[in-house]
Structure formats: C-alpha cells, structure tokens
C-alpha cells in the first residue's frame, strides 16, 4: 500500500472554549484531489496550519508522505506548494521580486513555469505588491504555490478574490497538476467549487470531521432554493410543480412560486414547460443551511429506523 499523501491520527489543536480541531483522522491518497469543506471558523485553516508545521497539535499527529509535519517540517516543505488563507504584506517589492525571493528560498524557481503561470492569470509581475488588488495578490499566491511543481498542493481557499474567468483557469490548473501526478488538498466553504474540482470531500464542522463523502453522495446532499416568476395572468402549473421529483417546500405567492430542488433540475423544468416564466432565480444554500438540512434529515431517518 502506497504511503498516503496526507495522514492524520487523532489530530487535535485545542484553543479552548470549544474552538480548534478535535481528533481528526484523515487519509488523502496520492494523486487525489481532496476537498476540505466547512463553514467559516470550522477549523479548516487550523488543519492546514498543522499540516504546514506552523502550529503544534495539542494531541495526535499529522504526516505528509509519511513525514511528521512537526519534526520533519523542512523535508515536508520540499514536497509542498502552499496558498495561505490570507496573502501577507510584501510592501514595495515587485511581484517579480517576491517570486524571485521565495523561489530562491526553495533553491530556485523555473523561469518558464513562472512565466507560464503569470501569463495564464494575466498577472503583471512588474507591479509593486502594494499596488495589487486582492485578486492579484491571490494570483501571486497561486504562482508561488505552483512554480516549483510540488507533488502536494495545500490550498487554503485559493479562489477567494478571483473573478469567474480566473477561477475557471485555476480549475484547469488543478486538473493539469493532478494529471501530472500531484495530490491536491483544497480547502473551501463553497460547495460548488469543491464539487467541481474534487474527487472526495471531507466535511468539517466545529473542529470535527463529520463526514468524508464521494461526489455522488455530495450531489445527494446539495439542494437549491428556486424562485419562479410567471407572467401576470398566465396559468401557473402548481400541481405539476408539486409532483415533480425532488421538488419540495413549494410556496405559492400570486404568480411567484418558491420551492426547494434536490438533485437535478430536469423534473422542475419539465413541469413548467409551456408556461410563461418571466424570471427564474436559483441560489445555493449556505453551508450552515446545508448542514442543518443534512442533520435534520439524518436525525429523522434515524428516528424512523428506530
């Protein structure tokens, strides 16, 4: 059995008052894209900082390619590319100088790789860091993480601040890195992002790993809030909507219908076919909503089973 890219055993970091990370057991295989999903303050960054050897666990252990994250942290860093949750200050240094500086700390960076990454994200490296927008700072973080083609990428909410086009470019980059043999550990609080990019997902809440799910299970968890606005005077196909598979909690308010759609949109779209819809809005629930829904469902299922 190949050594895991990431392995943790009862990893805990207790900040007191119920904050931190508690008894986290996780195994991420090599060449896997693993999503680490959780709401703000769930413990994602704490986990990543433990993996990076920046903070000491209160209990348990964390390993990267079989190396202990605290004792062998220099060796671990040789194998890791890292995007921090917040890019730090580099003041008046130019982007090109930041890359040269941190690249040199790794023993040098490949000029071609850097150029390619900067071009892909349209990141002007001649500008001073303090002139960068938050999106550009994030792009620089991505360049720094990928420039030495590491076998493991640890990315803490890497797409925050990126526009949709650059997000798409980033997902392509992830795919290329994975195809090139890299393992990716991606933390996020956006379900669709993790769904889009990852093979497996660990869901963390209040410092505890509540579930490790594959993509199919993730699809079953997710739902959308939908609002349909029909043309005034047009017939509203209420019965068809209510009976559509996966459509729940239907509320009618004049010519506006609100409902929840679980799984695919096909049944709902079939139900409203032929009706004059003037507006259709769909939005993803927050992770908190999703967790509440998920836990309520689990609890009721458990009660029925009992």
């Amino acid at each position: 059995m190949a050594v895991a890219a990431i392995g943790t055993s009862k990893l805990s970091k207790d900040y007191g008052m119920g904050r931190g990370l508690f008894e986290l057991d996780l195994r991420v295989e090599q060449q896997e894209v693993f999503g680490f999903l959780g709401p703000n303050g769930a413990g994602k960054t704490t986990m990543i900082r433990c993996l990076m050897g920046l903070i000491r666990p209160t209990a348990g252990s964390a390993q990267v390619f079989g190396l202990d994250c605290m004792h062998d942290y220099v060796a671990v860093k040789r194998r890791v590319g890292y995007v921090p949750g917040d890019m730090p200050q580099f003041g008046s240094l130019r982007g090109s100088e930041v890359v040269a500086h941190l690249g040199a700390m790794r023993g040098g960076a490949d000029l071609k790789v850097v150029r390619n990454l900067a071009e892909r994200f349209s990141l002007d490296l001649s500008r001073r860091y303090r002139e960068y927008s938050s999106g550009n700072k994030q792009k620089l973080g991505i360049v720094l993480a990928f420039m030495h083609r590491p076998p493991l990428l640890i990315l803490d909410e890497p797409t925050s601040g990126l526009d949709p086009l650059n997000q798409q470019e980033f997902y392509k980059l992830l795919k290329e890195a994975r195809d090139g043999g890299a393992t990716i550990f991606l933390s996020s609080h956006i379900l669709s992002e993790v769904e889009h990019a990852c093979d497996r997902v660990g869901i963390i809440r209040s410092g505890r790993l509540v579930r490790i799910a594959d993509l199919d299970e993730l699809h079953s968890i997710r739902f959308h809030h939908v609002e349909l606005e029909f043309a005034p005077g047009a017939k509203v196909p209420i019965a068809a909507i209510r009976s559509a598979a996966g459509v729940e909690e239907v509320v009618v308010d004049g010519h506006i219908v609100r409902c929840t759609v679980r799984g695919t949109f096909e049944p709902l779209l079939d139900a409203i076919r032929g009706a004059t819809v003037t507006n259709l809005v769909s939005h993803e629930p927050s992770l908190e909503e999703l967790f509440l829904e998920y836990y309520q469902e689990s609890a009721s299922t458990k009660a029925l089973t009992n």
Partner: protein, 540 residues
C-alpha cells in the same frame, strides 16, 4: 465622540507606556537629586556648578541647566529635556501610524465608510493625542512630586503642572506637524520624511546654541518655544506666549492637514505623479541578489540602511565639530585646562568626543535594533513568516539570518559613521588613535546585537509586545547606567546594562570583560530565541 474614544483605545499602549516612562524618569531624577546634591546650601551650590560644567557636553541635545542646585532646575534639565525628545518621537510615531499606518491596515477606510468626515477624523485623532499626551505629561508631574516627597521636601504643584502643560503642548505640536507632513508622501516614506523634518527642526534649535549662524532660524523650531518655559526653575514659569505659539502651530497645521487629507486619495500621497505606461511583464526577477541568503534581506532594506548610514555619518561629523567648538574655549581657560589634565586620561578632545558621540551613538544603535525587531514582529503578525516558513528552511535558520542581517546592517551603519568621525576629526585637527576609533566603532556592533538577541527572544515569545518590551529593556538599561552611580547600585547590576558593558573604548580601549559579557548575552539570547522559535505556534 465615538471616534475620540476609538482613537484613545488605539493609542492606549502609547499613553500607558510614555506615561510610565515619564513618571519613572522624573521620579528617579528627583529622588536621585537628594542623593547626589547634598543637603546644605553650600553642597548644593557646589553640585550645581559641577553640573553646569558637565552639562556643556550635552548642549547639542538639551538646553543648559538653570539653577541645577535646586531640585526643580535639576529635574527640568535632567528629565524634562530628554522627555521633550521622547514626546516628539512618540508624536511622530503616533501621527504617522494614525494617518498612514491605519490606512494600510484598513482602519481609516472603515472609519470613513462609517460616515465620519475626514476633517472630523483628523480632529478626533488630534484631540485624542492631546488628551493622551497631557495624561502622560501629568504622570511626569506625579513622578516629580513623589520624588520630591521622598526627599522630605515639597514642591509647587502649579509649577509641576506647568511643566506638564509645556511638554504636552510640544507633543501636540509635533503630532500636528507630522499629520500634515505624512499627507505629502507615500505611506512607505511618510515616517522617514516627517522624522527628517522634525529632526531638522530639533537640530536647528539645539545646534543654534553652538553655531550662531543658526540662531536666526530658531523661531522655526517648536523645541525653541518649549525651552522658553522653565516652570520648575526658581523664578521661572510657564511661558504663556510660547506655549500659545505651540498650540497655535498645532491648530494652524491641522487645518492644511485636514484639507490635504480631504483632497488626496486614500492610500496615495497628496501629490502623485502619473505612472509611466509600460507593458506588463510576466518574468521573474533575474537579479542575482535574490539568490543569496542574507544578501536578499540586506537588499530589501537598502533604502533604510542608506538613510541610517547617512544620518549617523552626518550626526557623527556634527558631533566632532561640536567637540572642537565646545572644548577649544574651555581649554583656553588655564584653570579648566589644569582641571582637565588632572581628571581626564589622555587627550581632552578624544575623551569629550568619546563621551558625547559614542554615548549618543549607542542610543541610536539601540533604536536601529528596535526597528529590526519591529519588522520581525510585523512579519509574524501579517503572515509573511507563514509564507517564508512554507519554504524548506528551518525556523532556526530564520532566526540566524535575521540576526546576521542586523549584524551586517549595524556594521555598515557604524562603519560609515566611524569613517566620518575619522575624516572630520582630521579636518578639525583632533588627533584620534585610529585603532581605538576602529575598536569603538566596531564595538557598537555587539552592542547592537545585545538588543537584537533580546529582541529575537521577545519576537519569538510574544511578537505583538516585542517592540514595547524591547523599548522598555533599552530604557531600563540606559537608566541603570545613568542612575546607578547616584543610587549606588551594585557593580553586577550595572554590568547588566549594555550601555555599561560598552565602556569607553575611544579613551580606555576595549573592556575585555565587558566584551565577553556582551557576547555571552548575545549568544545566550540567540540560543534561547532559537529554542522559543522552534516550539511556538506561528502567527499567534
């Protein structure tokens, strides 16, 4: 009102710290007076005469004493002279931090987004500093009264409060001037620019006491108006006109500061030249300086290193000129020449220069070390250390590289000033022993490293408080030397001070024991900081 409270909250550590310093300085100086000045009228007059001769050495920094045979005159000279410099530095740091530092941190944007106008924001910050500096200055008053009480005497509370009012007025004036000056430059250069202007205003006043040509410009300096008040001296008082001028300057500069702040973009200086259009570049810097550890860090600090080196070189040359200007007329007095010959070892010029310049240079180099430690703490707080440690380098190496950078920086800065001293001494026909000058200059490096090692330990232990604690350490270290002989502290206690360990190398050569203890402190501090750094959580 909310902004005023917020400004007070943001500046609470400054108020507490400078209040504590002010209290301690006046308490120790006034209590010390009774230990060294004697009890009888004759003893005190003799003490006053010797103080006046001694004080001539410091005329480039603080005004000469008036009636140092009295506790008021002594404390006015020994405490309120140096507190004026401390309050000016506090005003500089507080104003540039409030205007440009908080801007970088996003606090200014958040405050303005809450609906506060820019002039009101400046007014609230100025009012908060005025209040804070008055509180800190009143702490000096309390220290004076407590010190006098310890000597079994009483002192006029009105006069003591008058001294506090003059001190606070100077602080507010410097704060307001800085608030205006920092509007004109980029955030990066704001503190340096305002600091250079304040230093120039300080030097115009202080050097005018020695160089007559500068006397006509003295009216420009807020420090001149501060010195017109001598409320603690018998027969003296708070000069109402001079204090009003300080407050008027503060108010008059606050208006254009508010206007400049209203007209400029947040994050930009008032005057900004349009950037030259140039094509985007996707290339990493190929400069070899980034490839070499240590060199890249020195290169990143090149501007500040050059400013420090040039500043120290210029000041050292000024001190050499001062030495010549002050000592020459004294030696012309036969009685004093005999006095110097009896008490001083070797050449009078050399002794004098060693005392005033290398004494002052020690303070500056302690400040140099503190600026480095401030940067180490900032790297920890803003996440840069996270990214540095995401590279395959050990924490011990980070500590080591930081200290080597500090050492080489100190070597450059002191080396340039040493050359400046040698060259200027040659022009002034002061004969200096080249070897001793080199030793005195080089000894400033381990002296700086003492503060670097203690700072590294503090930055690893509690980075957020490292600068304040290191400042307190430097202050205590300086006080031990100043007050040790007065309070008859044991030798070992004085040996704890880096200032004592430095010795008088220009006249007496290297103090081998002092050097060994200095190096032991450096090595011990660095070893402890490496251990602390290895075991700590980064960013907390």
């Amino acid at each position: 009102m909310v902004m005023l409270l917020l400004a007070l909250r943001l500046g609470r550590w400054g108020i507490a710290g400078f209040g504590a310093v002010a209290f301690l300085v006046t308490l120790l100086q006034s209590a010390g007076f009774y230990r060294v000045a004697g009890r009888t009228e004759a003893e005190r007059q003799a003490f006053g005469r010797s103080m006046s001769i001694l004080a001539a050495q410091f005329s480039a920094i603080v005004p000469p004493p008036v009636r140092p045979d009295t506790v008021g005159g002594y404390v006015q000279f020994r405490a309120f002279g140096s507190l004026a410099i401390a309050f000016a530095i506090w005003a500089l740091v507080a104003a540039s931090g409030a205007m440009r530092g908080d801007e970088e941190r996003g606090i200014v944007e958040a405050v303005l987004a809450a609906g506060l106008s820019r002039p009101r924001m400046i007014t609230a910050r100025l009012a908060a500093f005025a209040l804070g500096s008055l509180v800190a200055a009143l702490a000096a008053t309390a220290g004076l009264l407590a010190g006098v009480a310890s000597g079994g005497e009483t002192f006029s509370a009105t006069a003591a409060v008058g001294a506090a009012v003059a001190l606070a007025a100077l602080g507010v004036c410097c704060y307001s001037l800085t608030t205006l000056l920092v509007q004109l430059t980029s955030a990066r250069g704001a503190t340096v620019f305002a600091g250079i202007v304040l230093l120039a205003l300080f030097l115009i006043n202080s050097l005018s006491r020695t160089f007559d040509g500068l006397a006509r410009w003295r009216w420009l300096s807020p420090f001149h108006y501060y010195e017109l008040s001598s409320p603690l001296v018998p027969g003296g008082g708070l000069d109402a006109r001079a204090t009003s001028i300080l407050i008027t300057i503060a108010l008059a500069t606050a208006v254009p500061a508010a206007l400049a702040f209203s007209f400029r973009d947040i994050g930009s200086p008032l005057f900004r030249f349009p950037a030259r259009a140039r094509p985007a570049s996707f290339e990493m810097s190929r400069s070899p300086v980034w490839r070499v550890p240590i060199v890249r860090d020195l290169y990143e600090r090149r501007i500040s290193l050059l400013v420090w080196a040039a500043g120290l070189a210029a000041l050292s040359a000024v001190f050499v000129v001062l030495t010549k200007t002050i000592v020459q007329p004294l030696l012309a007095i036969p009685a004093l020449a005999a006095y110097f010959a009896f008490f001083l070892k070797g050449d009078v010029y050399t002794s004098f220069l060693g005392y005033i310049w290398f004494g002052f240079a020690q303070l500056l180099m302690a400040g140099f070390a503190i600026t480095h430690v401030a940067r180490w703490s900032a790297e920890d707080a803003d996440g840069r250390l996270d990214l540095i440690l995401s590279s395959p380098i050990s924490r011990v190496r980070v500590v080591g590289e930081r200290v080597i950078v500090l050492m080489l920086g100190a070597l450059l800065v002191t080396g340039v000033s040493g050359v400046a001293v040698g060259v200027e001494a040659h022009y002034q026909a002061i004969e200096l022993d080249g070897r001793r000058l080199a030793e005195a200059t080089l000894l400033l490096v381990p002296f700086t490293l003492v503060f670097g090692a203690v700072g590294a330990l503090l930055a690893g232990w509690i980075p957020r408080a490292a600068v304040a604690l290191l400042g307190a350490f430097a202050f205590a270290s300086y006080l031990i030397v100043q007050l040790g002989p007065i309070f008859k502290l044991p030798e070992w206690a004085e040996d704890l001070s880096a200032f004592k360990l430095y010795g008088q190398p220009l006249t007496a050569g290297v103090d081998q024991t002092g050097l060994v203890i200095t190096l032991a402190i450096v090595v011990g501090g660095l070893a402890a900081s490496a251990i602390v750094m290895q075991g700590r959580d980064i960013g907390t």
